[in-house]
Symmetry: C2
Subunit: 366 residues, 2 copies
Amino acid sequence: MNKNNCYCVIMAGGAGTRFWPVSRVAKPKQFLDVAETGKTFIRHTYDRFLKILPQENILIVTAEKYRDLVMEQIPELQSGNLLLEPYPRNTAPSTAYATYTLLKRNPDAHCVIMPADYIIDNEELFVETIHNAFDYIEQNDVLLTLGVAPTRPETNYGYAQVCGGRDALQSKLPVKVKTFTEKPDRDLAKVFLASGEFLWNAGILLWKVSTFRHEMEKHMPQVTGLFKGWEHALGTPVETDFLTKAFSDCMNISLAYGVMEKTDKAWIYPVTFDWQDVGTWESLYNYMAAIRDRNGNAISAGKVLSENTSDSLVIEPEKKKLIAISGLEDYIVIDTDDVLLICPKDDRKFKDFISQIGMPEYEKYR
Amino acid sequence: MNKNNCYCVIMAGGAGTRFWPVSRVAKPKQFLDVAETGKTFIRHTYDRFLKILPQENILIVTAEKYRDLVMEQIPELQSGNLLLEPYPRNTAPSTAYATYTLLKRNPDAHCVIMPADYIIDNEELFVETIHNAFDYIEQNDVLLTLGVAPTRPETNYGYAQVCGGRDALQSKLPVKVKTFTEKPDRDLAKVFLASGEFLWNAGILLWKVSTFRHEMEKHMPQVTGLFKGWEHALGTPVETDFLTKAFSDCMNISLAYGVMEKTDKAWIYPVTFDWQDVGTWESLYNYMAAIRDRNGNAISAGKVLSENTSDSLVIEPEKKKLIAISGLEDYIVIDTDDVLLICPKDDRKFKDFISQIGMPEYEKYR
């Protein structure tokens, strides 16, 4: 790979509140360290790519309201590498914005699109994999997504079925994608897992930017049409005015739905680094296996004293309180400055409860 | 009764932490409004006696460290009516201090000793009863305690057995006390209840102060000896020096043990006003019957949203948080600035848990 032509676009605009009440619209997951690693997700992501690319080739796309949160985490980020969206319009418009910006800067740009909120524990292997993936797209005009061999019938991930079935995955080389399926139900996920033809779609994407432009203009002209003819504005003082209009008019559409599921250039690269998209309290609890106490409690709080309490997740982000718990099994207890949540740990029960809390009370605390 | 000779001594020195983590050594129960009445216990107590006595005849005995908490609650209290104990030595030394102070002020003083932390819901009947009790001690040289007919085998109260058995209680007039028993176990409490010979000892005491002085000097000379000969110091600038020495040397002894269980002048007056010494979270929950929600939850918090949650007590004293609870039955949830407690509501389980929390972690938050 030619490092000078390679870029990373970190997608950090999500307003996810799945880690409510720790994550809020005002401070979503990517700006937190819910897994107790010592760094926020976005800082981990940025640091990982510093090992691969020149700093000036790492861009961050986020919402205008998260500007300060990004700069707090990445104070060294050059202002030209911070792409701010005036309105949230999902991943396809963000990627279009980054695409036209990169092409204006370097018509030979190659890039990796990287969500800001992944956990990747085997960094050396990750770095090596990204190098290989860049080499692959240098040689092949494809939209390459990274795929992870599934180990359980996970219902919170997306899946990709490969052409050629289970045999095609033997080579460990990129394979053409046959179908994408977002978050299947448990039964379908079991079928996928058993078939051996599916990979988890990690949502880490690489391509020549010119190749992607061609595909997106072909498959979602209603989005790209808002940018075409306006490339001259990008990176200039009139950019903000242009973006306000373009994002205001733009539809809300994901990159998966807008391009990846429609293009015939989608390929998937089976990777083996340790990737996790920890997106629920229960999955965070599972991830924290190594630091659980002898009763199976995963704890991040000032001080926890417990009895008859097991398999529970206790989070007090400020780490200033004494949490005294007796008699809870399989619960989550999250104590923030303005919300206390006590709920069974099971993802479905949590989700059901949150949906029942309902508006407008919950809205005030989102 | 001659109002000018009648005094009230409010006992407000207790450092009870039974409502931990809301009550602390630094702010015990009498300075709180855990029952959500709109006033602290001590303010209720003071206001009740304003209906009976001239303001200048109401005194408060408390620990030196609670001076500011008392003045915050009773800003109109004259400084001469605030008796400050330099060290906590239980109720007998407090009462001795108040006794010598009152006798110096008025040798014909009659007084009622009143704990600061009772709940009394029928105030008119209370006022009438205190009037009658003052009349009774005017005519009779006795140490009179008020007694409440027990309605359950309560193990957190003291009991008094009357001379003459169940028949003696028919008259509704004061009766001589045969025995006092502090906090019996459940089986003994059941026997007391069934016998019809026992009353709950409410610990509200009335006497001619000179009569009480005679009894206390007879039964606990080791305490009163520290005061005798020093009456001239009380209420003067040298009082503090004297008290520091006297309380430093004094034993820790309760009024019940030091005098009431030993004197042959103990009488009890069966009263019918609604008295409760709410001293545990479970009893507070029981007291809050009228304001429980349809699932039996007693709540005092900013906002509580719950599902599958019943018969629980939720207290967030600052009333600023959203408390979202799913799946708790018969629990207490207490969320203060520096402590979160989640525990089964049962008194014994709470007590066991608190004792297991142990030192030194718990000490820091007492």
